[in-house]
């Protein structure tokens, strides 16, 4: 059947519009649904009290702390290595076999599914190194997961710092390291921070890797060797064991709101960063 091209285009365009509308609708639906059912559950006591009776009652305070602590440890470990790698690749070397190996390592790491990280973290940190289910095990595992993201975004941020800045710094008698710390990093900071915020977003929602390394203890973590439950893990357990639907919705709402805030933050930072250099 040979259609007039204009007619064909009209039909296709309509079909594409429908598909796009469906996709956008799905997104909006998910967010609205979770928020509608979850926000009513969110009150001050929900956010500030610990779970009671395995989560049937009380709030999610300890899981919020657990999430924050775990994410903090992960970023603390991954950021220096990630930014350091990015600095090395852009400022201290030309493209050669070494850089290709480094990039290959980072790319592969980025593609590994979270359950494998969970397996690995379990066997190495929890068992072999004896850290047990702990913030340390979870933090280390998460750090490995977010490392490629930090490398990639830091590298892009550093690369977009104008070459003339480097030239000027050298011509005024700086060492390379002084140039990196006093000129390049401050200029690339918004981009680097964006990457870290993105990684934080990923860590907040991560479940498979965390549940096998940080465990699911409901108490507040007292040290990095304490086991701790994150919001995502708590949500999973609530939903799967059918413990409390309303608390599950509440936790889900917090998770979704966190993602929204993080995305808005990164979007805003990126706009600011781009505007600075154009």
């Amino acid at each position: 059947m040979r259609l007039n091209p204009k007619v064909e285009q009209g039909l296709v365009k309509a079909a594409l519009q429908v598909m796009t509308a469906v996709t956008v609708f799905i997104l909006i639906f998910i967010i609205v649904f979770i928020l509608r059912k979850g926000i009513p559950v969110l009150d001050l006591s929900f956010l500030t009290r610990n779970p009671v009776d395995m989560g049937r009652g009380g709030g999610i305070f300890s899981t919020i702390i657990g999430t924050l602590v775990l994410t903090f440890v992960a970023v603390l470990i991954a950021a220096p290595f990630g930014v350091g790698t990015a600095i090395f690749l852009t400022e201290y070397t030309w493209e050669n076999r070494v850089t290709r190996i480094i990039r290959f390592g980072a790319d592969c790491l980025a593609g590994i599914p979270s359950i494998i990280f969970g397996l690995f973290g379990f066997i190495l940190f929890v068992m072999k190194l004896g850290f047990g289910w702990s913030v340390l095990s979870g933090g280390l595992t998460l750090a490995f997961m977010i490392l490629p993201t930090i490398i990639r975004t830091s590298e892009e941020a550093i690369k977009s710092v104008p070459a003339t800045y480097r030239q000027v710094s050298f011509s005024l008698g700086s060492t390379r390291w002084q140039m990196v710390t006093r000129v390049v990093l401050p200029a690339a900071l918004p981009g680097i921070v964006t990457g870290i915020i993105l990684s934080i977003g990923r860590s907040i929602g991560e479940t498979a890797a965390v549940i096998f390394t940080a465990g699911s203890a409901l108490h507040l973590p007292t040290s990095i060797f304490s086991s701790s439950r994150t919001m995502a893990v708590h949500f999973y357990i609530l939903a799967r064991e059918g413990i409390s639907m309303s608390n599950a919705y509440g936790t889900a709402a917090i998770l979704v709101i966190s993602v929204l805030i993080i995305n808005l933050l990164t979007y805003y930072l990126m706009e600011k960063f781009i505007r600075k250099y154009s």
């Binding site: 011509s171 005024l172 008698g173 700086s174 006093r182």
Partner: protein, 251 residues
């Protein structure tokens, strides 16, 4: 007049391409040496060889000697960072760093560890005075340097170099993007600055060299064709090629 820089048989290569061919040139103390020549003649490379900025480019290689204060600056035990503080460089496009005016001027000074705010403030005022920028910005030293006009930014860059207390000032086509008034201001500053500094000015504007330089060197295709008092170069050059260039027959 004493010799401040002695260039002896100096050649420079980028990979296999030779950009400077056996340059023999003396730079005299407290003079303004103009360096003229068509694009690609090696003028900027020559400047970059003096403060070893060329070292930063991949596959850069040199032969020959450049002596400053009797020492070859290409000796392996020369501290390159110190060298660059002695020979301050100003680029064709003004590059203010994304900082305040004050912080821009003291950037180089801070690199060597100076932190006394009072001392730094003195340095800032002194250097901005010398570049005729002080009156224009003294009330807004803490505002961003990026907000200055092109001419002001370039004078800021010169002030930034002066803050290092260099012996030499190297300028690579500093007025190429600037309006005539800013250009005039910078040329006036240079005339005053030569009392305390030795200045090498690369320019593709021969009239600027005629206005400002005591002696002028003419480069062509990586070779130093001729160097001498500016008056002589412009009225009765020894070499035919110099004459052709100045008359606009090429370049």
């Amino acid at each position: 007049m004493t010799t401040a820089i002695r260039v002896k048989g100096f050649s420079h290569f980028f990979g296999s391409a030779q950009t400077l061919k056996g340059i023999d040139l003396d730079v005299l103390k407290n003079e303004i040496l103009g360096v003229i020549g068509p694009a690609g003649s090696g003028k900027s490379t020559f400047l970059g060889a003096l403060n070893r900025m060329n070292d930063l480019i991949r596959k850069s290689r040199t032969e020959g000697v450049i002596e400053i204060e009797g020492k070859n600056i290409y000796d392996p035990d020369v501290n390159v960072a110190e060298l660059r503080r002695k020979l301050g460089m100003v680029f064709a496009t003004p590059v203010p760093l994304p900082r305040s005016i004050f912080e821009n001027v003291v950037f180089g000074t801070r690199l060597s560890g100076s932190r006394d705010r009072a001392r730094l403030a003195e340095i800032v005022e002194d250097c901005l005075q010398r570049t005729s920028l002080w009156e224009e910005v003294k009330d807004r030293l803490d505002t961003s340097a990026l907000k200055l006009s092109g001419g002001q930014q370039q004078r800021l860059c010169i002030a930034r170099v002066l803050a290092l207390r260099p012996d030499f000032i190297l300028l690579d086509e500093p007025c190429s993007g600037l309006d005539p008034i800013s250009t005039a201001k910078i040329e006036d500053s240079l005339r005053l600055l030569k009392r305390d500094y030795t200045i090498i000015l690369v320019t593709n504007n021969t009239k600027q060299a005629a206005r400002v330089a005591d002696r002028t060197a003419f480069f062509l295709s990586g070779e130093l064709i001729e160097v001498g008092p500016t008056d002589k170069i412009f009225t009765a050059p020894d070499d035919r090629r110099t004459d052709d260039y100045l008359r606009g027959r090429f370049g």
